[in-house]
Structure formats: structure tokens, C-alpha cells
């Protein structure tokens, strides 16, 4: 690990100034991913800006939305009353991720900025476009069982050369995507707001970039607008062991139901793309319908139309489809 200067700002403004003035600086909060990356020599900031002492730790419900400070810990968020009552899908997703210890360290902002867990990205001896643009994607013709099946929008393109087929590892972000969360960002030019769908990037260009965050920018909060999904939402995570593993596929499903019919629906998938994968047409397909396995199967198969497998992950197409059916069934309360 390269030596670094440790800095501990007290205000957001101070932190942003430190980062803007030093291109080699990086923010650190929980450290659960960055320390790992620094140990492996993948991240080597010369200055480490410890933002843990910034006043970004509040969870508040104001007007029509839940505003969650970027430094709120994953464990605190998962057990917060307002989250459990208003956005249980988010709590479920958080608890499906990592371990008790990691959730005690990881922050909301850090979770948004988690980097992929692709083995090629983590091994300096193997090629990786994300780590070293132009070096080639090791996974494309390598070990790609856990890699992406969606690349550039539903059915609009396959894998492009010099790109990246890694998947986004977060569970929380899948739920936040389904819930149409807004990310609040502070930077050299002041505050701006970005929708979840626009926060993370696809990898067709500049695979080294996971998000659309600019230099020096700092995530300060997220906002989840109130909705009517609390009674009918489910986060399903499929993995290679029963806990403490990244998703092969995960599904965040949220339904608004009344009188035995679905009136609104949202769904996002994890483990299938470079960013949490939002299913846009689900609302149109489900609105006004009576829930049934057959209906959900149709929805799932429609969604998978744009999927494209690599050599080892064809199973994910069926798995994702099945997982969507299972998650929607649980959300709808049908067996």
C-alpha cells in the first residue's frame, strides 16, 4: 500500500475542497471496500479524506419523503422504524447484504459506491478494462459464471469490445432502484440531485467509471419518496451459500395492491448488469391484473428478452426469470 496523508474534515465544504484540490485524494467512510482495494493495490490514494465526522448521519421523514444521510450505517438504516414501516423492501435488501459486522461499518454513501467484485478487477495480474482501460476484459472469455447478462438496455446491444461484463454487487442499490430513489450530491459546484437510474453507469464506454459522480463530488444523502408498496414488497437474493455471499441474482419487487388486483408495480434486478437493472415495463404489464404465477411468468420472460449470456452464465437467464416469479409471488402473497 502506497503511503497516504490522512485528513479528517469537519464540514462537507471542507471535504469537497480537499478532494477537489487533490485529484489523487479519495473519500473514506466505512472503508469496507476501499481499504480492501487499497490493500490489493487497486486504489492508491495519496490522501485519504475521512468523512466519518461530517454531519451526514440523520434519518428524517419530511413532507413526502425519507431523507437518509450518506453516513447512516447500513445496520442502523435496516432497523430504523421509519424504514421498517415505510420502506421494508430497503430493510430486507440491506439485511440480505454482507454481515452484521460489515453492516455496522458500511454507510449508505459507501454502499452506493461499492465497486464490482469481479475477480479480474481484484487481481492485478489479470487483464481488466475497469482497472486499466484498454487492457481487455479477462472475464469475457474467462471465468464468467457470475457475470452480467444485460449490457446496454433491454435488447439494444451485446458486449462491446474493450468493455466490462462485471456486475454491480450491492443489494441496497437494487432496492433503491426499484424505489426510484434520488441521490443528493454535493460538489465543487454546489448541490445536485440525481435519480438512481442515472447514478450508476453501464459499461459500454469508460468501464473504469461505475457512477456519474464528478471529481470531488460527495454523496451527502438519498431520498426515498413515500409509496404504497410497504405491504407487498419482497427482496429475493439467490446465492451460492445461505448467507454472506454476493448475489448470483437478486430481485427487488414492489407491488401496490387493492381488492385483489395490482395497481402499481416496480422491480429491479441485481447481479445481472453493471448497474442495478430496472424493469421499466412491469407497471404497464401488471396494472389492473389479478396476480398469478402465470402472469408473473409472462412478465419475467418478457423481461429476459434482452438478456445475453456469456459462456458460463446462461443459467442466469433462467435463474433471473425464476427469481422474478418467486419474488413477485411472495410480494403478492400468493403461493
Amino acid at each position: 500500500m502506497k503511503p497516504f496523508q490522512y485528513l479528517r474534515p469537519k464540514t462537507v465544504q471542507e471535504a469537497v475542497t480537499m478532494a477537489t484540490d487533490n485529484p489523487e485524494a479519495q473519500y473514506i467512510a466505512g472503508g469496507t471496500n476501499l481499504v480492501d482495494l487499497m490493500k490489493r493495490g487497486i486504489a492508491s490514494p495519496s490522501k485519504l479524506i475521512d468523512i466519518n465526522h461530517l454531519p451526514l448521519k440523520k434519518i428524517e421523514h419530511r413532507y413526502d419523503r425519507l431523507r437518509i444521510g450518506a453516513l447512516v450505517l447500513n445496520s442502523d438504516l435496516a432497523q430504523h422504524k421509519a424504514v421498517l414501516t415505510r420502506q421494508p423492501l430497503l430493510a430486507q435488501a440491506l439485511l440480505a447484504g454482507a454481515s452484521g459486522q460489515l453492516r455496522n461499518m458500511a454507510t449508505v454513501g459507501g454502499n452506493l459506491l461499492q465497486r464490482t467484485r469481479c475477480s479480474y478487477f481484484y487481481d492485478l495480474a489479470l487483464p481488466c478494462n475497469k482497472r486499466k482501460p484498454g487492457a481487455g476484459c479477462g472475464a469475457e472469455e474467462g471465468i464468467n459464471r457470475t457475470h452480467a447478462i444485460f449490457f446496454a438496455g433491454n435488447g439494444f446491444g451485446g458486449i462491446e469490445k474493450s468493455s466490462c461484463i462485471a456486475v454491480h454487487p450491492s443489494d441496497m442499490c437494487v432496492a433503491l432502484t426499484a424505489l426510484e430513489t434520488t441521490v443528493v450530491i454535493n460538489g465543487p459546484d454546489g448541490e445536485r440531485r440525481v435519480m438512481m437510474k442515472d447514478f450508476h453507469r453501464l459499461s459500454t464506454q469508460q468501464p473504469e467509471l461505475d457512477t456519474n459522480l464528478g471529481p470531488g463530488e460527495l454523496v451527502t444523502a438519498i431520498e426515498v419518496v413515500d409509496n404504497a408498496f410497504a405491504k407487498h414488497s419482497h427482496y429475493l437474493k439467490v446465492r451460492d451459500r445461505a448467507s454472506y455471499a454476493f448475489a448470483l441474482v437478486s430481485v427487488a419487487a414492489a407491488l401496490q395492491m387493492d381488492g385483489g388486483r395490482i395497481w402499481d408495480a416496480r422491480m429491479a434486478l441485481g447481479g445481472v448488469a453493471h448497474k442495478p437493472w430496472r424493469y421499466w415495463s412491469i407497471d404497464l404489464m401488471l396494472r389492473g391484473q389479478v396476480p398469478s404465477e402465470k402472469l408473473f411468468r409472462e412478465v419475467a420472460e418478457h423481461e429476459m428478452e434482452g438478456a445475453k449470456a456469456t459462456a458460463q452464465n446462461a443459467f442466469k437467464i433462467k435463474l433471473a426469470s425464476n427469481a422474478m416469479v418467486a419474488a413477485l409471488k411472495t410480494a403478492a402473497g400468493i403461493s
Partner: protein
């Protein structure tokens, strides 16, 4: 039923004698010894699988703060026990253990090519990232399936006519060919790694030019001492190896590995004690693994379920420089009464590091295949899998034509089946559901050969009547000290608190390393024998103290006293015996080893496992929901720790069956699963309640304590039982481990 066979017996098991130090964090593991002037080392490893080093640029690393040395083949000290280096370098003949920093040749990816030694760990880690190594690559072969044509009879076997790994056949092959019902199937287990929670670590200290002490994680201090003494041409006693506490090993510590040599060489070179702790990623290429193995089983039976023949062929991966042999196909000769049985074993050398023994070596691999095949044949016969096994029960060893020293496998089957509720099982696959999940149950047998090696133990009775018992045996986790304390306390008739058992130091009396489930059979016997000898001495000395001993009664010991006979009410305290004879302590050393019984009996441990699984029909996720395991290993020395060992074996088997898979990208010959996030081992949530039962009858022929080993048999067969349960749940037969969701949806 025997009291100890109950799951929660109120027996008088000992809690671990080292429990307090382990739960308070005060047990000292290899990397934790406080040594003045300690320097920290970090390995730089090869990023190609075959070729040679053309240059090592170390100037930047050498100039980095705190760096003491950058060691490689260019500047490493000569190891006196190794042959002089050849110029130009030549690949060593097969059978030569890899020599670290010896020459520029690369044999496998992850091979140590340099080592940075610095004042602190942070400095060493950073400097290691600054070392630039360039290579001349040669085409490597690491892909098993693409190289199967290169598999052959191991050279070791070709040279040794009596090798158990020779091709084997008994009976008439036509019996199999013409069998009424036949199945033929191929089974694959991928490379799997031990990955004990404690990474391998060493602190090497040259106390003088000719005096070496190493605190090294290994499973045999005596063999490590011998190997280091040989390498550095020192008398054995000038080398001391300490490994009191070992954070798990499962076979990864049986050999002295290159990193150990590297640290010892470095300590000599920088003239300071050196600590080297392997990174978790280095644990995948430094300390062996369970080899990738492909097996073909052909089984035939009559319609009534009488086995007609077994043909078991197995090919295992090895390195290009060493042959690693294991018992993969051997169980098929002995487990079932089949008139025809044949085995073939081949090795496939690849450009990888050498595999090594991993818990249940060979047998865990082979029995996955055999017990899966038995299940497949039972299904083809429409027979209950347990009934099929009972029908082909071997009453004597069909391989050696010898009686078993003891075999209670039938009782294991009966007890396990009863506890599991096997008789209620629906035979039809995919016929039972529970809460939307597919429910299945499966079973498998288990066996493991008996191993006993000559062992010594010393008993030292102290003036206060307490006893120190010593042997250079090991404890990688099973609770060796606890079991030995139990044996000693019983023989000497004293409270276990009066016994202190010392192990894990090469200065102690000779004992084998901890492997092959041999510790209790070997060292347990030595402890028994030495305590018997001490008891005799005490009885003799006591006899000189009192008239009562001349009445011709049979003296007995209990409660730390010698009595002239069982009826005698008044005993003489051990401490009083020493005091009377003006002895500060009383010392006895004894050796215990096998005799002619080895040729008269066939000796094995036996057991079986019953497993219930739930499979999610939509996601293909398998969860083991219940396990009953039953073993016949002779006398159980200490139920509490034995039970834990059995549970541990089942957990290892769950990992083997459902998740463990070291995946290599063969374009680079490099593992892409190189940490605990990508190489999955079971977590808490994967492990259900596990019921453990023992037959607990002494095997009177094997040794004086009637006890056989437990470590291996606990895992052997588990993967097969799980695969069989998955078949029962889903109707899908998975023949390639691990059984992950992709194989079931």
C-alpha cells in the same frame, strides 16, 4: 443402547483443557510469538504458470523505507542440503520437491519468486508491490479435460510392484459385463482448498549460526525438524520447531512448504528473526489442495440387488514436478462384498503446484463417486439405497481376505436409520414437498483405513502428585491434549485436573504428525502405555512402604492413591510415595507401536451419514436441513470433543458438496477464486443441527486403547449422501461437484 450414543449424554466428558486460553484469546499461534528485532517478510509470487524469470528489478523496492532485503534466486543463500545450482538451470526430475529461490524456473502460477523483508509489515507490503519481475513464458497446461490423454500410471507405482496403487482386479470381469442391471457414470470433483482460518505463518529465528528455532504452523513438529535439519545440514537437536496452537490445517500443514524454507533462508540472510504470514490469496498456491479428480464407476448387480461387480477408475491431478498419490479408488475394493472388483488409478501432471492430503484424502473423493454410484444402481434396481448396501455387506475384507479387526457398520446403519427416520422415506424422487421446497433424503457409507505409527510418550509425576505427560504430537483442532489427558487420568486414577499434557514442540518425545486419523491410535496408545508403566512404578514403590502389599492382593489405583487390593480401604497418596522415597519427580518414557496384528486383521473405521435437504424448485438453492451421522471407531475417548470432530467433518462435507470450487482461468493458469468471497466455505446459515452417534465398542485388535481415528471418517461419504439427497429431492443426478444452483434449475 450405549449411554454415549445419545446425542446429549450426561457422560463425564472433559471440556477442552485449552478451552480457557482459546476463549480468552491468550493461546499463542505461530505468528504471535514475541521475538525481539523481528523483521516482516512478504512474498512476491509468479504471475505465469510456466517459463522462467528473465529479470527482477528490485532497486525501487530496496530503496523503499524500512526495507532490509529483496531476496530471490539471484541472491538467496545456498541451502547446504540442496544440490549446487546448475547453469543454465534445468527442470528437476519428477519427485523433486520445489526449491524456493533456487533457480529462475517457473513451475506454477503463484510460485514464490522473491521476498521482501522490512522493518514493519506495512513497509514490506508496499515494497513487495514495487518489485518488477519479467518472465519468458512457455506454454503451460493446466486444463484437466484438455490433457487427459497425458494421464498415466505414476512413476512411483511403476517402480513399486507392491504399491497399493497398482491396477487391481479380483474375480471374473464377465460378472460385471453380464450383470442384469448395470450403471456407468463419471464423477468430477474440482480442486478444493483446505483454507484453515489461520493462514500459514512462520517466525524463523537463528539463535546462532548453527541453531535454528522456528514457530511454524504445521502438523508435525518432528518431521519439520527433520526436514529443516537436513536442508541446513544441522544435527536434529540444533533445530527446534514449535507449534503449540494451530489454527486448523486439515492436511495443509503435513509438509514443510517452500514459504517456510523462504523465511528460514531470509532470517539467515538478514541476520534477524523473520516473520512471514501468507496472504489469504497465497493460501491457494502455497500449501496444497484436494486435487481435481475425474472418476468413472461401472457397477453391476443382479435384479435382486446382489452386486456382481465394481469397476472404479480414477485420475487425479498432480504437479509437473511431484507425484501426489491418494486413496481415491481403494475403498471400492474393500467396502462391499462384490465378487468382481477392479480399480485403476492414474495421475495427470499439470503446470500447477503439488496437491496434498486434505481431510479424508482420496477416500472423500472416491467415496463421493462410489456412494453416488451405489445410489444410482439402487435407483435402477428400484431398491432402497440402505437395503441395497445391507444386502452387499462385507462380513470380511474382500480385498485382503482377512477378518475385520472389528466392524459395526451394520449397527451404524441401523442406529443412523432409526434416528433419522429413514423407514418413512418415500422412494420416488421429487415426490415430497415442504413449504414449497423439494424435500429429499440420502445416505452414504463411510470408511477409512486404520493408521498407527510408532509413538513415544513421557510421564513425569511431580512431588505434589500431579503429572506432566509429554509427546511431540500436535493439535490442529480435534482436542489432542484433552483426549490424552482423559487417557492418562483414567489409567492413573487421578482427576484430569492433575494432568498436564504437553505437545507441539520438537524437543518432546517422538510422535507422528497429526494426519491420517492416527493421533489417538498412535499417541493415545503411547500415553496409555507410559501411564501404565508409571502406575507399575508407583505400585512397586508403594509396596515398599506398607506391609499390606505383601498379602498377595492385586494392587489398584484410584483417586490419586495406590491400594494394596480392591478391598483395601486405606490408600497411599502418590505425593506421599514420592516423598517417602525422596523423589522430586518420577519419570517414565515408553514407546508403543503395532505388531503382528496388522497381518492378521484388516483394520478400518466405518460409518454412515443420513442427510435431508431442501431444494428451492425455482432458484435451485440447496439447503441441508438435517444430518444424522454415525461412526464405528472403536472406543470413544472423550465424547464431547469427538462429537465436535464429527460435526466438523459433516460441515466440511457440506462445503465439498455444495460450494467449494477453486476455479482457474486456464488461459493464465491462475485461480480466479482466491479469497473467502470467491471460494465459498460453509457459514453458520448453511449448517443445520447435526446429530452424532457412536457405536463405542473397543476394537481389541488395533491397540491397547481399542480406539481408531475419527478425523477423516467424519467427512468421508458426506458429499455422496448430500448428492444422493439432492437426487431424491429433485430427480436430478449431479455428478460434478459442487452442486450449485446453476446445475439444478
Amino acid at each position: 443402547m450405549n449411554r454415549k450414543s445419545l446425542d446429549n449424554p450426561s457422560d463425564n466428558s472433559l471440556s477442552r483443557v485449552d478451552g480457557a486460553v482459546k476463549v480468552t484469546g491468550t493461546a499463542t499461534y505461530s505468528a504471535e510469538y514475541v521475538v525481539p528485532e523481528l523483521a516482516h517478510a512478504v512474498l512476491v509470487t509468479s504471475t505465469i504458470a510456466k517459463g522462467s524469470i528473465t529479470a527482477i528489478e528490485s532497486q525501487e523496492a530496496e530503496a523503499a523505507p524500512g526495507v532490509l532485503a529483496v531476496i530471490s534466486h539471484l541472491n538467496a543463500i545456498e541451502v547446504p542440503g540442496w544440490p549446487a545450482r546448475k547453469q543454465p538451470a534445468e527442470r528437476a526430475p519428477v519427485g523433486t520437491a520445489f526449491r524456493v529461490f533456487y533457480d529462475p524456473l517457473i513451475y506454477f502460477d503463484g510460485q514464490p519468486v522473491a521476498m521482501v523483508v522490512a522493518g514493519t509489515r506495512e513497509q514490506a507490503v508496499h515494497a513487495a508491490s514495487l518489485v518488477r519481475v519479467t518472465y519468458r513464458k512457455e506454454i503451460h497446461q493446466t486444463h484437466f479435460e484438455k490433457n487427459t490423454s497425458k494421464a498415466g500410471i505414476p512413476l512411483n507405482v511403476q517402480r513399486a510392484k507392491n504399491s497399493p496403487f497398482q491396477d487391481y482386479a479380483r474375480g471374473d470381469a464377465a460378472a460385471l459385463t453380464n450383470a442384469e442391471v448395470r450403471i456407468e457414470a463419471e464423477y468430477t470433483i474440482p480442486t478444493q482448498h483446505h483454507q484453515p482460518l489461520e493462514p500459514h505463518a512462520i517466525i524463523a529465528v537463528w539463535e546462532a549460526d548453527d541453531k535454528l528455532t522456528v514457530y511454524d504452523k504445521n502438523q508435525g513438529v518432528k518431521s519439520a525438524q527433520g526436514q529443516l535439519a537436513q536442508a541446513f545440514k544441522l544435527p536434529r537437536e540444533k533445530v527446534q520447531v514449535v507449534a503449540t496452537y494451530i489454527g486448523g490445517a486439515f492436511g495443509s500443514g503435513i509438509r514443510v512448504w517452500p514459504h517456510t524454507m523462504a523465511a528460514v533462508m531470509a532470517a539467515k540472510q538478514v541476520k534477524r528473526p523473520v516473520k512471514l504470514v501468507l496472504g489469504r490469496e497465497q493460501m491457494f498456491t502455497s500449501v496444497g489442495y484436494r486435487p481435481y479428480t475425474v472418476q468413472k464407476l461401472t457397477l453391476g448387480a443382479s435384479k435382486t440387488g446382489q452386486l456382481a461387480g465394481i469397476m472404479h477408475e480414477g485420475t487425479g491431478q498432480t504437479s509437473a514436478y511431484e507425484e501426489h498419490l491418494e486413496r481415491t479408488v481403494l475403498a471400492s475394493r474393500a467396502l462391499y462384498a462384490s465378487a468382481y472388483a477392479a480399480t485403476r488409478y492414474r495421475l495427470l501432471p499439470l503446470d500447477v503446484n503439488t496437491p496434498t492430503w486434505m481431510r479424508g484424502p482420496g477416500d472423500a473423493t472416491g467415496m463421493f463417486a462410489l456412494e453416488s454410484a451405489m445410489d444410482e444402481l439402487a435407483f435402477a434396481l428400484k431398491m432402497d439405497p440402505l437395503e441395497f448396501r445391507l444386502k452387499n455387506y462385507a462380513e470380511s475384507d474382500p480385498e485382503r481376505n482377512l477378518p475385520w479387526s472389528a466392524k459395526s457398520l451394520r449397527e451404524c446403519y441401523e442406529l443412523g436409520a432409526e434416528k433419522f427416520g429413514w423407514k418413512n422415506r418415500m422412494q420416488e424422487p421429487r415426490s415430497v414437498k415442504r413449504g414449497g421446497m423439494l424435500l429429499g433424503s440420502g445416505m452414504a457409507s463411510s470408511l477409512y483405513g486404520f493408521h498407527r505409527h510408532p509413538s513415544k510418550a513421557r510421564a513425569l509425576m511431580q512431588a505434589d502428585g500431579s503429572v506432566i505427560v509429554q509427546s511431540a504430537t500436535m493439535d490442529i483442532g480435534p482436542g489432542t491434549g484433552t483426549a490424552m489427558t482423559r487417557i492418562a487420568a483414567k489409567v492413573l486414577g487421578v482427576n484430569a485436573k492433575k494432568i498436564r499434557f504437553e505437545l507441539g514442540h520438537s524437543a518432546l518425545p517422538d510422535a507422528p504428525g497429526q494426519n491420517g486419523s492416527s493421533t489417538i491410535p498412535s499417541v493415545g496408545s503411547a500415553v496409555h502405555v507410559v501411564c501404565e508403566a508409571l502406575k507399575s512404578k508407583l505400585v512397586t514403590l508403594a509396596g515398599e512402604m506398607s506391609e499390606r502389599f505383601r498379602s498377595g492382593g492385586q494392587p489398584v489405583v484410584r483417586n490419586g492413591q495406590v491400594f494394596s487390593s480392591g478391598e483395601d480401604k486405606e490408600g497411599i497418596n502418590y505425593s506421599d510415595i514420592l516423598k517417602y522415597h525422596q523423589l522430586k519427580e518420577l519419570e517414565v518414557t515408553e514407546e508403543s507401536k503395532s505388531g503382528a496384528e496388522r497381518d492378521q486383521y484388516s483394520m478400518y473405521s466405518f460409518g454412515c451419514h443420513f442427510v435431508e435437504v431442501e431444494v428451492d424448485p425455482l432458484t435451485g438453492e440447496v439447503r441441508v436441513t438435517r444430518v444424522v451421522t454415525c461412526a464405528d471407531v472403536g472406543t470413544i475417548i472423550n465424547y464431547k470433543t469427538a462429537r465436535s470432530q464429527s460435526i466438523g467433518g459433516v460441515v466440511g462435507g457440506i462445503g465439498m458438496a455444495l460450494m467449494e470450487h477453486s476455479a482457474m482461468d486456464h488461459r493464465f493458469g491462475r485461480y480466479v477464486t482466491n479469497d473467502f468471497a470467491s471460494y465459498h466455505i460453509p457459514v453458520h446459515a448453511d449448517v443445520p443441527p447435526i446429530e452424532v452417534y457412536y457405536i463405542d465398542k473397543p476394537d481389541v485388535h488395533v491397540n491397547p486403547i481399542g480406539s481408531k481415528g475419527l478425523g477423516e471418517i467424519a467427512i468421508v461419504g458426506v458429499a455422496g449422501a448430500i448428492a444422493n439427497a439432492v437426487f431424491h429431492a429433485t430427480g436430478k443426478r449431479v455428478r460434478e461437484l459442487p452442486i450449485t444452483p446453476d446445475k439444478l434449475i
